[in-house]
């Protein structure tokens, strides 16, 4: 788009902006135009955590999200949007605000504004901390992010077996619907299973660790799962084996009285 720059000068009844007689297309007499201050809006210096490289267009989108939601305490962009390329399903955004925020409303607003799919989680800092202590997927999600402000967390894993049982149900869907799921759905369910496994073993949870363990324990590359090119019989055998082991361990945990 061609932009013309000018200066506001003082007029008698109204002030004006002079532009040259020889003008590019789109600036004909009578054409509607927009004028706005040429001073750039201050760019928010984003914090990159475990994100080495990001495509310029994604950086621009993140900057625009931050400006759009500038009233909130902190904004965290995470998930597949931060992976290389453009194969993300949606943009995961965690909003941290002490005042109540309506995530659905913001989601609809951003979907419309950017013409992309957003998945918004809104919570306050204490809930986020509680989520990190008890939810392996929160830990996986926050192992890599771009945020408006730096995040400092101090927490210890708290194993709540009943919650882990709930989380595990998500991976159960892979066994039941294998033939009808996309590669990325299968990967999400596998990732969930592996995050629970790592959490129960008090291990560090990050995307790289999860993918490494998928290869080691399920004998399949994460990329092959995402592309839905896996050997069904072999994969399901390993998956069910691990699923049952984790399920038994969770039920033993409940039995032994730790929540």
């Amino acid at each position: 788009m061609v932009i013309l720059a000018g200066k506001i000068s003082k007029g008698t009844l109204m002030d004006q902006i002079y532009i040259p007689k020889e003008r590019p297309l789109g600036f004909e007499l009578g054409a509607p135009v927009v004028i706005k201050p040429a001073i750039e809006e201050a760019e928010i210096k984003a914090v990159y955590y475990n994100v080495d490289k990001l495509e310029p267009i994604k950086v621009m989108i993140i900057q625009n999200i931050f400006s759009e939601l500038s009233a909130l305490d902190n904004i965290i962009v995470t998930g597949s949007f931060l992976e290389r390329g453009f194969q993300f399903n949606d943009i995961d955004v965690i909003l941290i605000n002490d005042k109540k925020t309506d995530p659905k409303k913001i989601e609809q607003h951003l979907n419309k504004l950017f013409d992309l799919n957003f998945h918004i989680i809104a919570l306050d800092y204490n809930i986020l901390l509680k989520g990190l202590e008890t939810d392996p997927l929160y830990q996986a999600m926050l192992s890599r992010y771009v945020a408006k402000k730096r995040l400092i967390f101090r927490y210890k894993n708290k194993i709540n077996y009943k919650l882990l049982d709930l989380h595990l149900l998500k991976s159960n869907l892979l066994i039941k619907n294998f033939d009808y799921l996309t590669g990325s759905q299968k990967y999400d369910m596998t990732r969930n299973l592996m995050a629970i496994f790592l959490f129960l073993n008090n291990r560090k949870i990050s995307n790289a660790v999860i993918d490494g363990e998928i290869k080691k324990l399920l004998k399949e590359k994460a990329e092959s799962i995402k592309h839905n090119i896996i050997n069904k019989a072999l994969f399901l055998k390993e998956f069910k084996g691990l699923y049952n082991k984790i399920f038994d361990r969770i039920l033993d945990g409940v039995k032994n009285g730790s929540e």
């Binding site: 709540n160 709930l166 039941k176 619907n177 039920l251 409940v254």
Partner: protein, 111 residues
């Protein structure tokens, strides 16, 4: 992939049972603050089940085999819950299963 009616109903039952199981187990989690944030999984199973339902005829009317489907769902959810109860799970209310099944099945125009 072309799927026959029987297979679709089975897939529907698997997923809706998972959703109901999730709803009941959610209520057994003692931590109220955390619990509020965990209905997403219920929605996952529910949405998948809904997609299968949309492919089962009659799409806009009650299914002729609705009471059989409901019976299978209740049995499956009860079995899963009983495994947990035998392992010491507390706060599981088996009486909620039927009403949860009724609500969800009506919503999906099964009964």
């Amino acid at each position: 992939m072309e799927v026959n009616r029987k297979k679709l109903i089975n897939l529907f039952i698997e997923n809706i049972s998972n959703a109901i199981l999730h709803r009941i187990l959610e209520k057994a989690v003692e931590d109220d603050v955390i619990r509020r944030y965990y209905d997403k999984e219920f929605l996952n199973s529910f949405e998948i089940a809904k997609k299968y339902r949309e492919k089962i005829n009659p799409v806009d009317d009650k299914l002729p085999d609705s009471s059989e489907i409901k019976g299978i769902i209740i049995k499956r959810v009860n079995n899963e819950l009983k495994i947990r109860i035998s392992k010491g799970y507390k706060n599981i209310d088996l009486s909620l299963v039927e009403s949860a099944a009724n609500t969800i099945l009506s919503e999906l125009k099964i009964n």
